[in-house]
Subunit: 156 residues, 2 copies
Amino acid sequence: MQRTNFAEMACSIARTLDVIGEPWSPLVLRDIWVGMNRFDQIQADLGISRKVLTERLGHLVEHGVLEKQAYDNRPRYEYVLTEKGRELVDVLMVMVGWGDKWLAGEAGPPVLYRHHACGEIARVDLRCSQCGEPMHADDVEVLPGPGAAPQPASAG
Amino acid sequence: MQRTNFAEMACSIARTLDVIGEPWSPLVLRDIWVGMNRFDQIQADLGISRKVLTERLGHLVEHGVLEKQAYDNRPRYEYVLTEKGRELVDVLMVMVGWGDKWLAGEAGPPVLYRHHACGEIARVDLRCSQCGEPMHADDVEVLPGPGAAPQPASAG
DNA sequence: CATTTGGGGTTCCCTGAGGGAACTCTGAGT
DNA sequence: ACTCAGAGTTCCCTCAGGGAACCCCAAATG
């Protein structure tokens, strides 16, 4: 948990960070996305402290990104993505694209993604929801929205 | 800085987090994206500790995401996005989309984005780079890539 | 010349979150 | 009765974030 409360800010980036901004949270989400759904699996895969993993899973469940499901009569649980969580994976996919391009180096990307719809190895592309053309940092003008803060000091 | 070194992992998400995973870094990037380029501006806008802001800016410059430019004969500097940094803003734009949808509540989104190409208020959409169809968490199969770790324990 | 101002940081101390390892609890299996 | 495996808890230690005060430099001001 960051010391400063991001959830209160009138900024969707800050609010999103309040959900997955803590260290390890995005990697926990990734593991669950690719099918590692159990506590010990995730702990072993990431090498995260059990204490911190407990806290992160609880936080993600609390925010409706994960659901905890029993899979046995014994007290055994697995964590699965909710709809809200699956949409959050969009953020991870874009991080993958950036990391693959700028940080992978000689070895190339650690993981490839085959798109079910077309069968090709593909990356994600950002497009405008209105016209379908590419939409990136310099392609937009930022305007205050209905939920803007009283004093427009903060953007996003 | 997280205690565990994410940069060493064979995972583009972890590597990306090594660049912007620390608390505040995405918000610093956002401020610079929307035109707040100076130390005191960013510090005042975010309410971040000066010490931490110094460290974050240095880290982002070191990783080639920002550039520090003198703008006066006096020792005055502003921070601007590099190409690498502008592409990283893609991640922020997707976070905005998710936060707007799931966390904005009654008030609506704090900020709107007008797409220069079409002039409409728009969101970003994730599309397949190969076929142009939507591409989200469940639309892909994850395969080991050329830069995969020896033991395929880690995905992403 | 001495002083003020303002940007851009440093330094200091305090608290609390992450790391690591050991411990616990529960309900099978044998 | 004993062991085992999954899923956490508990405890201690260190180091990173918060906050406030301090510093340095160059120009403007009196």
